[in-house]
Symmetry: C2
């Protein structure tokens, strides 16, 4: 699956050249106006439409290969660029074109006592390395978002989508060329060699930021090797805490939605914490509802006990490992906790601080939860599934940061920028 | 110089325990109100005043040891906590107490079409590891700033200031204790073992952010070993570009200030770029002025040529290495460039993107410079020496970030925080 130019022998040199070209392109992009960038995005959209048949053919070969090696059906489905997914991908570009450019905005202005005028202006980050897994439409989403924010991007996709990504990257390149933008503004690492990731991680002279989005082994490799800033888009062990004063209808609706609506994503719920004050009534009710939705229920001792004679056999006793596991599947762990503080302590100890919800009719309890819990997004009486750049109204999303610096939670266009201070004086010197 | 508890044998365990305690303290701090934190800061200030004699005695032993091993005088001077420096250090705490707390501010609020109310609230980062060199007053500055922003801090100072830092840390601990704040809110790595830095860099489970501030070898070690986010506070190769349309009086004043007022700091100028259109008149003039201020002048061929018969012998020809060197001394490199674009290209190739200035009477040229150059701070007709949290009006500064993510340029209280989204619903689920 390697192209001629990319062999293990010259991998290091190839990636270094890619990064150098990206740095050059980033310099040019920083000087390109927003309308020209939008024209480039439109040219990419048109080029994708023109090459639709070829891209889908290449995608079909990826899908076939994945099926042949026994890849789980849910993963294969994510890989597939059918007509609907293709149309959505192209529509996504046009939605991003329609968003205002984040660049050039003056974020603050201060006039100092000595007369210096200090303006903080939003500028592109520079070169972004984006390392991700499987879904090919992410290739387009990420490239387009980074370009809209004025950045050059190096994409390293998953090997399962390699042919699809190559076909998409060719369309991007052609689109950039037609629009008179540097072709190195968006480049794909054109090899499936695993060693490409560590090599890319060492290009701190040319890459300003790495964004890894994926599972544990990817994140571990990047953290081990990266010598430049990294913003991780990692896993979500999300909790729903049902408070003693919860509305149980609402609680059931939220738990079922957060677990079942799309179990394979990071903002779905993995653990249900039920307050002792709600447990007697709510445990049997929610165990039944979850089982009715084909959810495997794993419960602590108290949950098993309260499930009742009819349902007890349906609840698998939890082990310590359950509390830290991101199932990404129709499985949930359930624990009865003595208090709100205990619920937060559980989240602190086992959770990923991604998205956590409280269900209660008691506003003071909700505010206490908001204060005590340290998650990128906290919900009161709503599903954790809303942690998403579109749902938050950003108009776009490159992922959901699980880090606390620069960007936390959904990461949109503004989070793909930096700033610089421009200071206007009249000869001020420092004394 | 090691205390009993810190031996190479248990270094790893000791640092891990320190970090775990810091994580606990951070949880408590996140739930502490701003007035209580300010009371803790005041208690630290009072404890320092109470222990002034002891601290200065310990500092004198550091100074003596540094002198005995032949440390340069300028470094020894930075190490010294004389009465003036001590008073300034304590005053600094009270200035920070007087600043508004950055915490709890609502940074944005969105009401979504589905009725969800999404608030972005500023919160502490958590645990910050601060790794720095020599000056002992930085120990207090950093600890106090991080605490004001609600963070727990682990301090790793330079070995030259070890006794001073131990004495300061003891005062901090006592102050925290008196104020009823967790003593682990501010902890010093109580060993001079070099291995402590790599060990600290691996504590990503407990440390949210590392801030290294120092020279190349420190930064290299941290970037090699860190497994958590890092914001570097590194070197400055700053430029003054004198445009063809410059006011030469003003240009001379700015160049002399940026080079001579405090040559040992990162925002002082290291390279002077003179536009060909200004060179004939300005080169001999500025070479003379610099020599009059005891500055060693290193010039490219054109500078040597234009310096004139009387001054030519005073100019040392540059080598390629000069353009990337942070002299931190009364030395400057001078180059004649054909255009503004060439000046920016020089800065792109050799500079550190820290602070760079243009001197011109031509507003269009200044704006072009602001647009093309990619530095954390760009100046028009002012000295680069203003890149500083106090001069920028932040009221404080933990350093000057040379990174582009999270914080760029002067880093004050707000840059020591993160945010979380708190979302209020009425039972919204995702469809």
């Amino acid at each position: 699956m390697k192209t001629e130019a990319w062999t293990s022998v010259n991998l290091k040199e190839s990636i270094e050249n890619l990064c150098k070209a990206a740095r050059q392109a980033a310099r040019a992009l920083a000087r390109t106006d927003a309308a020209h960038i939008d024209a480039g995005l439109e040219a990419i959209a048109q080029e994708l439409e023109k090459r639709k048949t070829f891209i889908q053919e290449e995608n079909a070969r990826d899908v076939e290969a994945a099926e042949a090696k026994g890849t789980p059906k849910s993963t294969v489905d994510r890989l597939r660029l059918n007509d609907k997914a293709f149309a959505q991908m192209v529509l996504g570009i046009r939605q991003i074109i329609a968003l205002p450019s984040p660049l050039g905005a003056v974020l603050s202005e201060r006039i100092r006592p000595n007369g210096l005028v200090i303006r903080k202006k939003r500028v592109p980050l520079g070169v972004i390395g984006f390392i991700y897994e499987s879904r090919p439409n992410v290739t387009i989403d990420a490239a387009v978002l980074c370009l809209k924010a004025g950045n050059a991007t190096i994409l390293r996709g998953g090997s399962d989508a390699f042919r699809s990504n190559m076909a998409l990257a060719a369309a991007i390149k052609e689109g950039l060329h037609h629009a008179g933008l540097p072709e190195a503004a968006i480049q794909l690492v054109e090899t499936t060699e695993r060693e490409a990731v560590p090599v890319l991680c060492r290009q701190s002279d040319y890459v300003d930021l790495l964004i890894p989005r994926g599972g544990e082994s990817l994140i571990r490799t990047v953290m081990e090797h990266a010598r430049m800033p990294v913003i991780k888009h990692y896993h979500g062990v999300c909790h729903i805490y049902v408070h003693a004063a919860a509305d149980f209808d609402l609680a059931e609706r939220i738990v079922i939605n957060a677990k079942c609506q799309k179990p394979g994503v990071c903002n779905s719920a993995e653990t249900l914490l039920i307050d002792e004050g709600a447990a007697k009534e709510f445990v049997p009710r929610i165990v039944k509802a979850l089982r009715d939705h084909n959810v495997e229920v794993r419960g602590d001792e108290r949950t098993v006990e309260l499930a009742g004679a009819a349902l007890r056999a349906e609840v698998i006793p939890t082990t310590e490992a359950d509390w830290t596991t991101e199932y990404l599947d129709l499985i949930i762990s359930v624990r009865v906790v003595p208090s709100l503080e205990a619920a937060v302590a559980h989240m602190d100890k086992y959770g990923s601080h991604h998205s956590d919800a409280i269900v209660t009719t008691d506003e003071a309890a909700a505010n206490r939860f908001f204060e005590l819990a340290d998650s990128s997004a906290l919900y009161w009486n709503a599903s954790t599934r809303f942690t998403d750049g579109f749902e938050f109204g950003f108009g776009a999303e490159i992922g959901i940061s699980t880090d606390k610096i620069h960007a936390r939670g959904p990461m949109g266009l503004e989070e793909l920028t930096s700033y610089k201070y421009v200071v206007t004086g009249t000869g001020q010197i420092r004394s």
